[in-house]
Subunit: 209 residues, 2 copies
DNA sequence: ACCTGAACACCGTTCAAGT
DNA sequence: ACCTGAACACCGTTCAAGT
């Protein structure tokens, strides 16, 4: 399983094929089917590996009394691990069943909220509202577009865009997007991620009353 | 392109292959490559089709003065369209570049916030915080697990789960999950979705001051 | 118990060739 | 201008056969 994680880390998710994985292990592709039912099981296992890593990282957080700080620290610890395995969030999303190690993570989240004074109904809503953010990532809808202006056409293009999408254009112009520390996709840097969870956590605190 | 949308609607995203699509059009698979550079372009086109549908639905919303009500109505209109095309959210997430019709949608979102009194910096944060919810969906992390209890083992299983994941177990027990009107994945019904956007919209309103 | 080779049914895509 | 057949380089997976 660690071979699968390493392969995906090194060569990308597309390179994680049964044939490549077998080669990594110095064996023929068909041998894998003796140990594992199929590729989905390999992906399940890779996710489980990453979730163990996350739970380990979470376990090293010292006790935090305030529920909001505790949850925030937990989520950011998970995120730190996911940044090491950029393929993991996509695979996690694609899993059809929840794995034991993922349950362990969520159980910790729920524990924090419960001991923080939430009732289970609000916790349930909270889990939905947090969505994938509870696990440390938020899938950005669009990656950075590498097809930048080609010099000649670009000014015309920009003018056409400004005419058709005036608000979007104005926002992009005003917000400096040249911050290069992009991590998990377009603009999804630490600042934006933290803004999102804090907005949600603050809102939940108010609902708790 | 409508053939691609229909095929995905009817047979699922996995059935949307170049060969199947060609058959749908009464033609050989290789003929498609005369009209389109490759499969990615087909998926781009299918997304664009859906986005046109969304923008049409959004266009039929009457003028709403309150920015929060206006944005809420827009997002829920988009969601109504996406519920007709269950594959669309996954494909939208997988697109690498933002399409013109998607830009048109976002431009409308930004317009609502801008005329509602937000500055562009806060709008930018807001777009990130909303994430895919701005488009009417929130990818749930796990689908319903069809492998329910098999009668015999299930009580032992539940006890083991209760021991290992006490908080999760207690939450599931307390929150009635037997509500059958699940839509886009596990528990992602209208109630939970609306809870999430309202939490975010209320939070944004407070930040606006 | 563990691994292998050959084969099957699929993909997306290229390319020379047809009308 | 539009379509096709044959072929290529890949997938995941099955299955009988090896040690």
């Amino acid at each position: 399983m660690t071979a699968a994680v390493n392969l995906a880390d090194r060569d990308g998710l597309d390179s994680l094929t049964m044939r490549n994985l077998a080669q990594e292990l110095g064996v023929e592709a068909m041998s894998l089917y003796y140990h594992v039912p199929g590729k989905e099981a390999v992906l399940d296992g890779a996710v489980e590996s990453v979730m163990v890593e996350i739970n380990d990282a979470v376990g090293e957080i010292g006790a935090v009394s305030d529920w909001k700080e505790a949850l925030r620290a937990r989520i950011l610890a998970a995120r730190r691990v996911l940044l090491i395995h950029p393929w993991a969030s996509r695979v996690i999303e694609s899993r059809t069943a929840i794995s034991p190690e993922t349950m362990r993570y969520y159980d910790g989240v729920i524990q924090i909220l419960r001991t923080g004074g939430f009732d289970y109904d609000l916790i349930h809503h909270a889990m939905h509202a947090l969505g994938s953010r509870a696990l440390g990532f938020s899938q950005e809808l669009f990656e950075p577009d590498d097809t930048d202006g080609e010099g000649d056409e670009s000014t015309d293009m920009l003018e056409a865009m400004a005419a058709e999408f005036p608000y979007l254009t104005e926002m992009v112009a005003e917000v400096s997007h040249d911050d290069p520390d992009t991590t998990l996709g377009w603009c999804d840097d630490q600042t934006e991620f933290v803004f999102g969870i804090d907005l949600l956590l603050d809102g939940l605190e108010r609902l708790k009353g």
